[in-house]
Amino acid sequence: MTVSTDQHKEGKKEVTFRVFRFNPQVDSKPYFDDYTIPVERGVTVLRSLNYIKEHIDGSVSFRAFCQAGICGSCGMRVNGLSQLACTTQVWDVLAKSREPGIIKVEPLRNLPLIKDLIVDMDPLVGKMVHYSNWVDSTMPEAQMGKKEFLISEEEFLRYDKATDCILCASCVSECSILRANKEYVSPAVLLKSYRMNVDSRDASHDQRLAELVKDHGVWDCTHCYRCQESCVKSIPIMDAIHGIREDAIESRGKHDTSGSKHAEAFMTDIEKKGKLIEATLPIRTNGVVWTLQNLLPMAMKMIMKRRTPPPPPLVKSVKGIKIFRAMFKEMTEHVKQDHKSHNK
């Protein structure tokens, strides 16, 4: 690896850490404190915070334990991005700082603040309890400890990555929907729920799935991929969310919820016309009453601007639709065969 001469020359820098401070028992509002300290190349944000606490201001509060990216305790926002302080190099962050020489450190978002950089994880734990984020064993209690549960490699691979989650809550902090509504299940809990639901040792799949499809559950995810992008363990969280949705449609049917109806409409329309029939999408998702109550004023404005999607009979099929439909049907047969062999 080549290292620039600048870095060779500059092994030590004065860096200012602009730390979010708020003690609800004393302060009327949050503020920032600047701490300028000498930092050597290779030092992490957590080591810098430890230095500040030991040498400058013992009242700065943050949570940390393993210092090695394993325990997930030191999740915080460094220059706006949720990550682990212990695996984040000061030099790397500094290179992209908006204000030269300054690193802003703030608590995670979307969780209640306890003090300074410490957030309350209880709401997240509460959701994990609500969605039974553990394996509820199918083995009768009398057999426990006497018999092994053997898991195939194929099954293990389905949730291998999900088990890497260390509950640092970076994804929780970055989630767009949680920011809009704190009741939302949250990405970490969806990941854990998926992991439990695909485990053949678990007996609670149906009950867990029934909770997941309710309001504030899996269908409220808006596919922004912020969770996946911020995951400190590079877990493909959206694959897990898609996995729950696929399972929900398969296990509970396509007419189960507004979310499943909305998703299924894409499949139906593509087969029918090769394109989406947008005009009736709100009705097919939520029914006529909801559509009239929620979308009528906007629909009027859109009509005035000639912006409404065409009614279904006027949606022209794509060129070559006949052969496309035949191919689509052939794939449907493939999928049926896959299901048969999978069930065997």
Binding site: G80, L81, S176, I177, R179, A180, N181, Y184, W219, D220, C221, T222, H223, C224, Y225, R226, Q228, E229, P236, H242, R245, E246, I249, G259, H262, A263, E264, F266, M267, I270, G274, K275, L276, E278, A279, T285, N294, P297, M298, K301, M302, K305, R306, R307, T308, P309, V315, V318, K319, G320, I323, F324, A326, M327, F328, E330, M331, H334, V335, D338
Partner: protein, 282 residues
């Protein structure tokens, strides 16, 4: 004149017709020709992927194969179509079995997915192929008095393992385009955030909150308008704007432009020609 296959997004064929209309006006001015792919089908809008992963691979493998047959790259002007088709491409390129399975079916239409055509956003073609210098030279009416909030949207940035053009934490391509057209970009923390579009029919309140936040920052920063490379973001931020802002208790409004309209304005076309009057907020 560099040629590309142009993917027709459902929304641009129905609600946001001004996107394709404005591109048609100026494409030759910038030395590009977008050949419309009339046989292409809906990509599944980030939903088909989990409703039926195999149909998803077939449908989008076919969309790309149509461009490959023409020997052209596939250009997309909707972020979600871009992310969706690129996701399918990644899956097909990584799985010889899946590729073989869909190619057996595509034979019926005389098509084959080979993986030779790239799937790219129009914004990337403008910045990378046309080039900012050429764009600068072609500008007739610089956007010099405009303070512009660049709203990238999610699916041109994330997941970065599929997109990979801009840094999702600090994207720059749209900022560069604005500057090449003579405009001023404002610092906008919502530039890489979400517009809420995909849950407007399923979790409406949440989506409106998400949209309102993005609108509010642009309004408070005194931007003249927001610009976005995605017609879905446009629909959320323009079509649903009044509802989102009312919901958030904000009495104000801000116009939202497509990149194709912003380019058209700088190249001397009128708001009427570009279809800007069709917006809900003008």
């Amino acid at each position: 004149m560099k040629r590309y296959a142009y993917y027709l997004s459902c929304i641009n064929e129905s609600m946001t017709k001004e996107v394709d209309r404005s591109i048609e006006l100026w494409q030759k001015d910038l030395g590009i020709e977008l050949v419309k792919l009339h046989e292409g089908t809906c990509c599944g809008g980030s939903n088909l992927e989990y409703v039926s992963p195999k149909h998803f691979a077939l449908v989008n493998g076919r969309n790309i194969a149509l461009a490959e047959k023409m020997g052209l790259d596939l250009i997309v002007s909707c972020n979600t179509c871009l992310m969706t088709i690129r996701t399918a491409k990644k899956k097909l390129d990584e799985s010889p079995e899946l590729k073989k399975e869909i190619n057996e079916i595509l034979k019926k239409e005389g098509l084959e997915y080979r993986g030779t055509s790239e799937v790219r956003h129009l914004l990337w073609v403008l910045v990378d192929d046309v080039g900012l210098d050429t764009i600068r030279e072609k500008v007739k009416v610089p956007l010099k008095n405009y303070r512009i909030a660049p709203f990238y949207g999610c699916h041109i940035l994330r997941p970065s393992t599929v997109l990979g053009h801009d840094n999702p934490r600090d994207p720059t391509s749209l900022d560069q385009l604005i500057e090449a057209l003579g405009g001023e970009t404002i610092p906008y923390t919502h530039k890489n955030r979400c517009c809420g579009f995909h849950t407007l029919l399923v979790a409406e309140q949440e989506s409106l909150n998400v949209a309102a936040e993005a609108l509010q920052e642009a309004i408070e920063s005194k931007a003249d308008f927001i610009v976005t490379p995605c017609p879905l973001c446009h629909t959320s931020l323009d079509g649903y704007q009044a509802k989102a802002l009312k919901n958030a208790g904000i009495e104000n409004s801000i116009p939202v432009f497509h990149i194709s309209e912003m380019i058209g304005l700088a190249l001397g076309y009128s708001a009427k020609q570009l279809g800007i009057k069709r917006h809900i907020v003008c």
